[in-house]
């Protein structure tokens, strides 16, 4: 019975999620970053897929929106790579939510990702996913306190 009720949560939020993502255009357009309704839908679908593949469900505000809000000012994001970058960031976000055993909040994780992405990673998503976030996950799991400069 539980699974029957869990699944509709993600279906129900797909339309809402798309609308939320589209709303981001209001503040991202000043950086020249605009998503078409179709692209917003693609991101919403990618979000649902990332949630599913990482065994998670979303119940609160749009995580994609939060990621866009944090990352749209990054010098490494252009209108050419905007969609792909956000897409990948969403994927690694959920992956590392699990890897960090939910020990870090959404806001802190997104901020850490942004600082690393703009800083040591110099816009490399692979370095962010394979190195920086991995170090964070290991540190959190083993109880080692990370420096506060990034988080």
């Amino acid at each position: 019975m539980t699974s029957e009720y869990i699944i509709p949560i993600s279906n129900k939020t797909l339309q809402g999620e798309t609308a939320e993502i589209e709303k981001c255009n209001k503040f991202t357009k000043k950086m020249g970053l605009v998503l078409t309704p179709n692209e917003a839908l693609k991101l919403a679908e990618a979000n649902a897929l990332a949630l599913k593949s990482n065994g998670r469900i979303q119940f609160g505000d749009s995580t994609v929106r939060e990621i866009i809000k944090e990352f749209y000012t990054s010098p490494y994001i252009t209108k050419d790579n905007y969609l792909e970058t956000i897409n990948y960031l969403v994927e690694i976000f959920y992956f590392y939510k699990n890897e960090t055993l939910d020990l870090i909040g959404d806001e802190d994780l997104i901020k850490y990702m942004k600082n690393s992405f703009d800083g040591v990673c110099q816009g490399s998503l692979d370095f962010l996913a394979g190195n920086e976030l991995n170090i964070l996950a290991i540190s959190l799991r083993s109880g080692i306190e990370m420096g506060t400069k990034n988080v």
Binding site: M1, T2, S3, Y5, I6, P8, I9, K12, L51, G55, R56, I57, Q58, F59, G60, D61, S62, T63, E66, Y94, K97, N98, D102, G105, D106, E107, D108
Partner: protein, 388 residues
Amino acid sequence: MYEINYDNIEIQKQFMELLSKKCQDYNSGISNSIRTEIAESIMKSTFYTVNLYFKSIIIQEKDLESISMPNIFLADEKGRKIAEKEFQKAKQLYKFVKKSKIYNFNYSYNSTLSRDGLGIFFETYNSTYRAHETPASIDYQLCIPVSGLTGVEYIKKYLENLYIENQFCKNFDDMNISNLLFGYSEEYEELLINIFQKVLVCAIGCILLRKDIRSLSLFYEDIVILHNQLLLYDIKELELIINQAVEEIMLFLNIKSKKIQSYIRLSTLEIISDINFALKNNSLDKVFVESIDSNSVQKNEFISSPKMPDEDYREFIEELRSCRYLSDKIAMIKEKIKSFDDLEELLLDGELSEKGINEITKNLQKVEIEELQKRKEIRELQNQIKNG
């Protein structure tokens, strides 16, 4: 009992809102997503507490209409309060059960009552997010198992039944109970047995034989008499006789509690069936067991004399293998082998024929043969010889 219509869209919506709120609370509001298994657990917990609330209220037919759209938030809150109350009751019961504990060496009984058994539940139970779970290590089997319940309801019912069983057993001396269990099996400490049932069966036997119930002592002759006596009855008469015996036991032990009385009566049903089955299969001694004082049983421990040094042993084996005649080999073994452990190795290493092995073992004492049989390698050797 009122049953919620889970297909109702409005009820589903309320459940979703409640789940969303609970998930946010679970994350302390710092995360917008949660792992599916945690969400499922929270959902199950919510179903559990809501059902707990509706189970607790008696609804008049006239009120059914007004409750057709129940407030799930309120039901969950009240259900959690009920779960908390039940938890406190169970905790108190756990204390009573520990106080009424029977002193014996049965591992499953003792471990279940320990902090690492039922104790885990009282340290980890969470009525908000995991109310439906039963985090406890329970190995001890009750005479009447608890079924169809989970969470705090299960634990409370389990403890209630266990307390009843303990209270009944407290009418008997712990030593008598231990002797009874030892009579059932020398390894009773390791077995998953129900102590109450064994005691009740023995008490029934004692009543039928007009023996002292409290002694819980039946002997082999008693069981033979019981067999001959009970064999005369058909199932209806048997039921009557056993039920009468149970009533006599309760009267004799002055058991007035209705709960204990009804538990004993309910337990008797299985006992009657066991007795009936045993009578048909001529195995009544498996139901009514002989009481044996564990202290009076002498335990034999086999100790072998020291083995010969490895170097000497190797030389001896070489010499033995090179020897042609069996009679000479036997003579050599008799002369050189003084230790039981050496003999065991010799049987394995000496490349002796079946005749040779028989020749050596025929002079062994019974206890030595028994000890040899216990050793795995020797058993394997025996099988090899049997299979050619």
